[in-house]
Each structure stands twice: as structure tokens, then as C-alpha cells.
Amino acid sequence: MARVLPLPRHTLSLVVENRPGVLARVSSTLARRGFNIHSLAVGPTIDPGLSRITVVVESEKVEQVKKQLHKLINVVKIFELEPSKAVERETMLIRISAMGTSRTEAIEVANIFKANVVDVGFNTLTFEVTGKPAKLNDLIELLRPFGVVELVKSGRIAIGRAAKSKPSRMRAVG
């Protein structure tokens, strides 16, 4: 098979009207226009009329992605969050095989990543960890030798970083 170069990833934050079918409209638009979804997370906002969708798309034409999504009547706003100007987080639940001494070894590794044990089975351990996507991937690599039984990720959520100094003129941010 021909090697396919990975497409650049972009984190888009959508403010949408909280109506049935909005998620379907967003994902169907992305599928129909041939844009790959890497991850997608959706949840309520402080305003009960609005929801937030954080979607990571893989595309060379991110402007087109944004414009096509903007055409959806229920999409109110779209921001692209640049990794350097945003806090990005993902939560992961990872279950590995671990018995006897390997349990303590695994827990030591997990501690470094501030991962918590959330379930202990007869021959498994399950950790919960939140962090930057890259950090989660590092932890996966370190736990891989134990044998990963199951892995669940939340999909990325992100928020733009706030100004670090008082701006000369205060302006409302759209």
C-alpha cells in the first residue's frame, strides 16, 4: 500500500445551539466534505441553550472545514485553537494486565504521570489519567509491556489561553 502522509491536525472549538441533531449535522458535514475526524467531544456550556463541540480534524484545508461548518444554521461560532495558544486536555482510562510484583511496578510508572488507580481486578489494573495528548501517548508506551487490555479516550477538549498581562484596551473577545 502507498504510504500516506499524515494530514495536519487542527483543533476546532464550535459553539452550537443545543438542539437535537446538531452533532449529526456537524459530523455529516465533515464526512460529506471528505474531512477526517480524529476526535470529537461534546458537552453542555454554562448557557443551557448552547453546547460546545471540540473536534480535531485532519485536513490540509482547514479554512474550508471551518467555512463549511459555519454554513450549518445551528453552528453559532467556530474558533481554531492553536496548540501553542491553548490548553488541550484528554482523559484516558487504561486497563493493563498486572499481577504480583508487576502491579507495584505499574503503579510506580503511573504515579509519575499522576494517574490514579480506579479499578483493581483479579489480574488487571485500571488507571485514569488526564493530560496533554502527548503525555497520554507516553504513558501508553510505558504501560504497553505490561499488556494493554483495554483503552478508552475521551476525545480532546481545549480552551484558549487567557491574556497574561492587562491589555492596553479592554475588549470583549468574540
Binding site: V16, E17, P20, G21, A24, R25, S28, T29, R32, E63, Q64, K67, Q68, H70, K71, L72, I73, N74, V75, V76, K77
Partner: protein, 576 residues
């Protein structure tokens, strides 16, 4: 308005009555549709309404009728269908209207709310199926919402970049009690079309144009939708810029205007195509750089700086990154251009204009009608234009006949040319012509149809007869899906795989008569004029004119799909 006619104490009505009252409130005078179980409650109040209902014979027909009505009148076309198969039959006209930005509202019945999701009788997931075929759609769960939903639907359909909007109404919602209240004010936080071009961009555009030596205006359906013809003609004249009109934009500026170069694209004329290839500034307004216009985009207008103005931001940069992007309504932005041009003199671009004239003289559209040869399809278009004085609404199907109609008719106004451009929907012509005639009863409406297209939707002529909508349909009988046959002849070694139509088993005159129409036939060139004259003289019944045409005629010029617009094949013998 409607509210003031209601008694002060709100009377209880049903959801069905509310939908009909809401349509009346929006000014609807005509609906095209077919009733069935789930939508039946809405047909009962329709019985008492001043709104006229035309019962199509297939929901696809109803949808294209609504489109034809919208094209001809500029108003929103309305169609109605039942759940399940009624709604799925509407999918083609919805997709067609979305592609060609036709303002339409479709009302569909749905199984009762409690049955939704259970594979109930005649249940289809209409909202899901039509999501990518509409500008927006609504699933109504509370009858109190009906007036506001209908109001929003009409607003969305007709504003910004127009398009089809669907409202899906479960049967129990139609039967529940509600009150009719005037719709709430529009509250669409995610929908705010930009109408005026950014003044700085407009200024930059004017400066770029003022410096240009070989400018071309490339205009399309957006001009028609925005009623921008006057502004376009005015600006083109002020600045002295030649104009190409795409298949969707024919009539945006009169074909008789000295600056009008006609249609570009796959079957455009040499001058229109080449003017874009050689221009230094391309001012694109209300167009979307469709592949049928640009050919291979890598080879399209490579040396041109592009100014692209469109109401839909997503069209800007989708195919070609413009040097100056302008999001705006076509009429507003052209008026801004007029103002910004001010009292500058017209461009001194006589050399460019002379070059274009030279090409026009050297490479005109042509065909060869021999007096004793078979009828050439192009000859019929020219004869029809001559006999009607061009004073008709011309509707076309999809195929060779559509291209000849666009090439050889002289369009002198907008909204006089109706066809399916983006989706290329065979079967469009007959129902669209009926819709156009129903909306504009005083206009002469001619459909030019292929025999293949005709066989997809001719049953709608029964509607034309029954409702006394006297359209005239000229069927080009070339015994083939001619456009397919043309490609097979050019690109598939003349292997005519499933493109012939067995015309020996069809009698179009009898078929017409069997549907209550007058049927006429012409088989030789000298019969064309008298037969068309005859069709013109009949105005109390629909007429079908079968024209037995040259089976081997092909559409030229041609730029093969995906080819470069620098390589225009001018005719069958032009070698390359």
C-alpha cells in the same frame, strides 16, 4: 396580518390548520404535492384554504415544479409529500435545488412521534436522509412551534445563498390542538449572511480593475438570485468589461449586449472560454468555479488575478484562491463597484476588445443544416427563438439538447432560462416547465427536452392537462441518451453500451394524446417551422412536439472532462 383577522380570544386549532395558516401567512399561493397517510391531516384544512394545490403524479415532479415556480417567479416554491416513499421521492429535487441555490420549502408528513424509530409503516428517517440535501431541515415535535418554524424556513430558503428547507411533521403533531400565533421574531444566532462587501476590498478590487488591460467578468446564478442584472450591466458598461455568463447565469446580461461573450465551460463558445484563459483580471461574481466551467483548475486562467465576490463564504477559496475575496450579495457588491468606479473613464482596452471580436469572427458556434438532411437540433432552437421572438421562458432537461438550447437561444433577461446545472438532473424539464407556467401563467413556456429525459417524468403532463397549465414541450428524438452516446463515440471507441432508446417502440404523438395533450411531429427540416407555428397557436392545452433529429449530431465546442481550457475541441473534424 393574519393575526388581526383572528378573534381576540385565541381559538383552538389543530397543528394541521396551523401549518396551512402559517403558509398563508408567508404569502404562499401554490403548493405542489401528493397526499398520503402521514400528511393527510394537513390536506384537510388545505381543502378550505385559498392556497391552490397542484397534485403531481410523482413527488419528484412536485419538487421540480416547485423549483420551476421559484426560478420563474423569484418566490419560494413549496412542495408537500407524505412520509417514507413520499419524502424519499423528494430527495432528488431537494439535492437539485441545493446545488442550484433554488429557494424552496418542502413539507413532509412523518409517522406519529411515538412510532418514530420503530420502522413503522412508511417510516423513513427524512431528517437524516435530507440533511445533506437541504440548506436546513426541521423536525417539529410541538404544534405551537409551527408558525415560527415555517417563518424561519421561508427566511432561510430565500435569504443569503437561497436553498431548499424541509419541515418534517409527525402525524400526531398535525392532529394535536394548538393556537395559531404570529411567528416569533427571527432568532437565528448562527445565521447572519454578509450582504455588503468590505469597503477596503471593494476599493482594492476597483484599483486592480482600473489597472487591468484584459479584464473579464465571470458571472453566474448568483446574479439571477440576487436580482443583480441591472447593476451588472451598468458596471460592465461603465468600466467596459466583457462578460461571460455561465449555464446558470444565462440572461444575467443580454446576449445582444456588445460586451456579452456568452457561455464558457465544457460546451461554451471559444471566445468565452479563451477570454478567461487569457485575461489578466478575472472578476467573478455569483459563481463557484464549477469544474464544468474551469476544466482542470490547475490550467484555468493561470495568469489572471482573481477577484471573487459571493454571498457564500465557503465558495471563496474552495476551488481557486482569489487575490481579493469579497463576501457579499451580488447586487449590493456590484452597486458598490458602480459607486467606487465613480467618474473614472471606461478602460482603454480596445485592443483586448478587438482580440475578442477577432475570436468571435474566427470561431463562431456553427452547425450545418442541409435542406434535405436530417433536422439539426440547433436549427430547432434557432427557429423557436425566431418564431417566439425570444419572448418565452425556456426550460431544458439535461444532455445535448440542454447545451444547444443554452448556446443557440438569445437570452435577453434573467429568469427566462430554467435548467438543472449543478446536479444535472434528467427529468427536470417537464415538471419545472409546469411549475414555471403555473407561477407565470401569462408567459409562454417552452420546455426543450431530450427523449431520454422526457421518459423520466413525462407523466407530469397529465397534471398540465388536468390543471390547464398549457406548457409546450419540444422533445428531441435522437433515439439515444445523446450526451452519453457522444462520450461513448469520443472516448469509448463508439461502443454504445446502453445508450440507445428503442424509439421504434415509442409513439410520442400518441403518448401526448393519451395524456390529454396535443401531439405534433416533424421529421424533416421544412416541417420545423410549420410544426412550431402550430404549437404556438395552441394555448388551451399542453402541446408535445416530437422533433425527429439527426442521431449523430454532437455538441461542440468541447473541453473533455478534466482537460485544460486551453485545448478546446471546436468540432468533429478539428483533429485534436
Amino acid at each position: 396580518m393574519e393575526a388581526s383577522r383572528k378573534p381576540p380570544t385565541m381559538t383552538k386549532i389543530t397543528g394541521a390548520q396551523s401549518i396551512i395558516s402559517s403558509l398563508e401567512h408567508e404569502g404562499v399561493d401554490l403548493i405542489f404535492g401528493i397526499p398520503g397517510g402521514a400528511i393527510l391531516p394537513a390536506y384537510d384544512p388545505l381543502y378550505f384554504s385559498p392556497i391552490r394545490h397542484v397534485m403531481a403524479r410523482h413527488e419528484q415532479g412536485a419538487g421540480h415544479m416547485a423549483a420551476g415556480y421559484a426560478w420563474a417567479t423569484g418566490r419560494v416554491g413549496v412542495c408537500m409529500a407524505t412520509s417514507g416513499p413520499g419524502a424519499t421521492n423528494l430527495v432528488t429535487p431537494l439535492a437539485d435545488a441545493l446545488m442550484d441555490s433554488v429557494p424552496m420549502v418542502a413539507i413532509t408528513g412523518q409517522v406519529p412521534t411515538h412510532a418514530v424509530g420503530n420502522d413503522a409503516f412508511q417510516e423513513a428517517y427524512t431528517i437524516g436522509i435530507t440533511m445533506p440535501a437541504t440548506k436546513h431541515n426541521y423536525f417539529v415535535t410541538d404544534p405551537d412551534d409551527i408558525p415560527t418554524v415555517v417563518h424561519q424556513a421561508f427566511h432561510l430558503a430565500s435569504s443569503g445563498r437561497p436553498g431548499p428547507v424541509l419541515i418534517d411533521l409527525p402525524k400526531d403533531v398535525l392532529n394535536q390542538e394548538t393556537e395559531w400565533r404570529p411567528p416569533e421574531d427571527l432568532d437565528l444566532p448562527g445565521y447572519k449572511p454578509t450582504m455588503d462587501g468590505h469597503p477596503r476590498r471593494v476599493k482594492e478590487a476597483i484599483e486592480m480593475l482600473a489597472r487591468s488591460e484584459r479584464p473579464v467578468l465571470y458571472v453566474g446564478g448568483g446574479i439571477i438570485k440576487a436580482e443583480a442584472s441591472e447593476a451588472l450591466t451598468r458596471f460592465a458598461e461603465m468600466a467596459n468589461i466583457p462578460v461571460v455568463t455561465t449555464l446558470m447565469g444565462r440572461g444575467a446580461i443580454s446576449d445582444d449586449h456588445p460586451l456579452c461573450l456568452g457561455m464558457p465551460g465544457m460546451h461554451g463558445n471559444y471566445t468565452a472560454i479563451t477570454s478567461m484563459q487569457k485575461c489578466d483580471v478575472l472578476l467573478a461574481v455569483g459563481v463557484r468555479f464549477d469544474d464544468r466551467v474551469t476544466g482542470d483548475p490547475q490550467h484555468f486562467a493561470v495568469d489572471a488575478k482573481v477577484i471573487h465576490a459571493d454571498i457564500d463564504p465557503a465558495e471563496i477559496g474552495k476551488v481557486r484562491q482569489p487575490d481579493i475575496p469579497i463576501v457579499a450579495d451580488a447586487r449590493r457588491v456590484l452597486n458598490q463597484f458602480v459607486k467606487a468606479w465613480g467618474d473614472r473613464p471606461a478602460l482603454a482596452n480596445q485592443e483586448w476588445i478587438d482580440t475578442l471580436r477577432g475570436w468571435q469572427d474566427e470561431y463562431p458556434l456553427f452547425y450545418d443544416q442541409q435542406p434535405d438532411g436530417p433536422i439539426k437540433p440547433q436549427f430547432i432552437i434557432e427557429e423557436l427563438a425566431r418564431l417566439t421572438g425570444g419572448d418565452a421562458i425556456l426550460v431544458a432537461g439535461v444532455g445535448q439538447h440542454q447545451m444547444w438550447a443554452s448556446q443557440f437561444w438569445k437570452f435577453d433577461q434573467p429568469r427566462r432560462w430554467i435548467n438543472s446545472g449543478g446536479l444535472g438532473t434528467m427529468g427536470f424539464a417537464v415538471p419545472a416547465a409546469i411549475g414555471a407556467k403555473a407561477g407565470m401563467p401569462d408567459e409562454l413556456v417552452y420546455a426543450v427536452d431530450g427523449d431520454g429525459c422526457f421518459q423520466m417524468t413525462f407523466q407530469e403532463l397529465i397534471v398540465a392537462s388536468a390543471y390547464k397549465i398549457p406548457v409546450k414541450v419540444v422533445v428531441f428524438n435522437n433515439d439515444a441518451h445523446g450526451m452519453v452516446k457522444q462520450w461513448q463515440k469520443l472516448f469509448y471507441g463508439s461502443r454504445l453500451s446502453s445508450s440507445l432508446l428503442n424509439s421504434e417502440v415509442v409513439d410520442y404523438v400518441k403518448l401526448a394524446e393519451g395524456m390529454g395533450c396535443i401531439g405534433l411531429r416533424a421529421e424533416a427540416p421544412e416541417e420545423v417551422e410549420p410544426t412550431l407555428e402550430k404549437s404556438l397557436s395552441i394555448d388551451d392545452r399542453p402541446v408535445v412536439v416530437e422533433m425527429v433529429v439527426d442521431r449523430e449530431e454532437m455538441v461542440f465546442p468541447m473541453v473533455p472532462a478534466g482537460g485544460s481550457n486551453d485545448q478546446v475541441i471546436l468540432g468533429p473534424d478539428s483533429g485534436d
